[in-house]
């Protein structure tokens, strides 16, 4: 693991007035790594991810992509660097159909600068069929689609373009069991393709099933970053709730190492 990390967020700060939403947090992410970001509501995890996705400017700190310092002043800057985000709200325009949403903000155009709806429809059909073979409602406004179908569109939008880093904010919160399994399968597939994934969740079981490493935030601060083998679910729960590992953790770990 001597290569340069895909993403380095160094000493990131974010204040809202006197409130420190993100307090000097440093995390990194490597190629093909899934990092679970855990914490209570308001622990600062969503805020940290919004900074990485360009939706929010940090008050301080530095972001590096493949070792190169970058500045994201709007979401398109992050997307240009291959950082894609699946928001918990899905961020879909309800009155537009699936292809229009998929290409929103980066529409395909013909030589004359007109919208190339045919090409967008074709591409949308392909990528959506890959995620869900039953997806047929390509001409309906997405407001008329089911939660699962909407989620598929949001995912398709994040993986269709040349994605290197994927931020998933509670991707399974609104899904049923079979759709959750689909998302889990997809995460494994993307990981083996070398994409780095931040999985924001408060479902500790999901994180243990899918992630290589777990990062825990508490009251805006980073309180732990551990390989998934080093910690038990109880240890992580303690980090989330109390902001520290249980007293006996280091002793246990020492014993395990011996």
């Amino acid at each position: 693991m001597s290569q340069t990390p895909l993403v380095e967020m160094i000493d990131i700060e974010k204040h809202f007035g006197g409130i420190r939403a993100v307090d000097h947090v440093s995390v990194d992410l490597r190629e093909g790594e899934v990092v679970g970001l855990l914490g209570h509501n308001g622990a600062g995890k969503s805020c940290l991810m919004r900074i990485l996705s360009g939706a929010m400017a940090p008050s301080g700190g530095e972001i590096r992509i493949r070792g190169e310092a970058v500045h994201f002043s709007e979401p398109n800057d992050a997307r240009d660097m291959g950082v894609e985000t699946i928001y918990q709200t899905l961020a879909l325009a309800d009155h537009l159909d699936a292809p229009a949403n998929l290409f929103l903000g980066r529409e395909l155009k013909t030589r004359f600068g007109n919208l190339d709806d045919k090409a967008m429809l074709k591409a949308a059909r392909e990528v959506l069929a890959r995620l869900n073979p039953n997806f047929k409602n390509l001409h309906d406004p997405v407001s008329s689609l089911s939660g699962g179908q909407r989620q598929v569109i949001a995912i398709a939008r994040a993986i269709y373009f040349d994605t290197k880093v994927l931020i998933m904010d509670e991707p399974t919160a609104a899904l049923g069991p079979s759709e959750t399994a689909m998302v889990a399968g997809l995460i494994k597939e993307l990981r083996s393709a070398g994409i780095g994934i931040f999985l924001v969740s408060h479902d500790i079981h999901d994180v243990f099933d899918l992630c290589d490493r777990v990062v825990v935030m508490n009251k805006g601060r980073l309180v732990g970053s551990h390989h998934i083998d080093e910690v038990s679910k109880d240890d992580v729960l303690s980090l989330i709730v109390k902001g520290e590992l249980p007293m006996d953790w280091s002793a246990r770990n020492l014993k395990a190492a011996q």
Partner: protein, 341 residues
């Protein structure tokens, strides 16, 4: 959701002609036909070529305002300033003519003034984060005040024949001189304002359905936060919409003042309400994300024909206001029922 919501994409012959995919538009079109039949039965003079042309002329101003209004409404906003901007633009054009400019560049100045007012609206809304209702209400007063101030509240007349061509001219007009020296109109021709309206309507529909900016106008009105996160430059999109609305108000002002061959600083009061009514009757949703140019055109004709027909039937201007007010409420009510799950 209704059919109207997916019509943002259907740019084909059917979306320009009345009665495309939208049920709302179909019902609006039926209303329009009923109005025509009703007025034709109640008044002989209504169903004549000359009155048809009068309606075309009257509707062209509402229609031009309505096209800009539709774009603004689709972004989820509203533009209350178009009536005043119309007056200011006409006055600016007239002053430019008086200052010695030829008619075409002078009218260009007027339209630019309108666009500037629209851009100001857009900047106040996006930079100062003032709600569109308040920002454009402010512009409504500012533009009216400016128009009155620079003219001293006196109409500008004596603008020359050339100034009247846009509003009074017609394509294919055939006139024959009779022996007694009076001209006889064989065919009144297609009025320039009607041709202008058609061109602007087609351009507007093209912009909304075939260009990226149009897609972004729909997206912004549909879900502003999602659009921003998707990389849509929401502020710039709104700025464009308000600028177009202002420029079209300027164009409408020039058509109107040209028709009168006089610039009236007090012209166009409450026209914004006609334009909003046209858009809403045509199926545009005031909560954003929904609307079509063809629908607005039908809406504009409904209002134009209502006004004209009620006039021809001798209904007073006061009753007309009551009727149009009820029609607007009715149209929105039908829309609400339609969208209820």
């Amino acid at each position: 959701m209704s059919d109207a919501t997916k019509s943002y994409k259907s740019f084909d012959a059917a979306s320009l002609l009345p009665g495309g995919a939208s049920i709302h538009r179909l019902s609006a079109l039926m209303t329009l036909l009923l109005l025509v039949v009703g007025f034709a039965l109640s008044s002989q003079a209504f169903f004549s070529v000359n009155n048809g042309l009068t309606i075309l002329l009257q509707t062209s101003v509402i229609g031009l305002l309505g096209i800009g209004m539709t774009m603004v409404i689709i972004t989820g906003g509203i533009d209350l300033s178009v009536g005043s901007v119309l007056a200011l633009s006409g006055v600016v054009s007239a002053l430019a003519v008086k200052a010695g400019l030829p008619v075409v560049p002078a009218m260009g100045c007027g339209i630019l003034a309108g666009a500037a007012c629209g851009a100001f609206n857009g900047l106040v809304i996006t930079r100062l984060r003032i709600p569109p209702f308040v920002a454009t209400l402010g512009m409504m007063l500012i533009a009216r005040g400016l128009a009155l101030q620079i003219t001293g509240a006196v109409p500008i007349s004596g603008l020359g024949n050339a100034f009247g061509i846009l509003g009074n001219g017609a394509l294919f007009r055939m006139v024959e001189m009779r022996p007694n020296g009076f001209p006889k109109v064989i065919f009144p021709g297609i009025p320039y304002p009607a041709i202008l309206l058609l061109i602007v309507a087609i351009a507007g529909a093209y912009l909304l359905h075939r260009r990226q900016i149009g897609r972004h106008i729909f997206a912004t009105g549909s879900n502003e936060e999602a659009s921003r996160l998707s990389g849509v430059r929401v502020d710039r999109t709104k700025l464009y919409a308000y600028t177009i609305s202002g420029a079209l108000a300027g164009l409408a002002g020039n058509v109107l003042m040209s028709r009168l061959v006089t610039a009236q600083p007090s012209e166009g009061v409450m026209y914004e309400l006609d334009a909003i009514a046209a858009a809403v009757i045509g199926g545009a949703s005031l909560s954003g994300g929904v609307g079509t140019i063809s629908g607005t055109m039908i809406g504009a004709f409904i209002i134009g024909i209502l006004r004209n027909g009620l006039n021809m039937s001798g209904v007073s201007a006061f009753i007309q206001q009551i009727v149009i007010g009820l029609v607007v409420i009715g149209a929105v009510w039908i829309d609400q029922i339609r969208n209820r799950p």
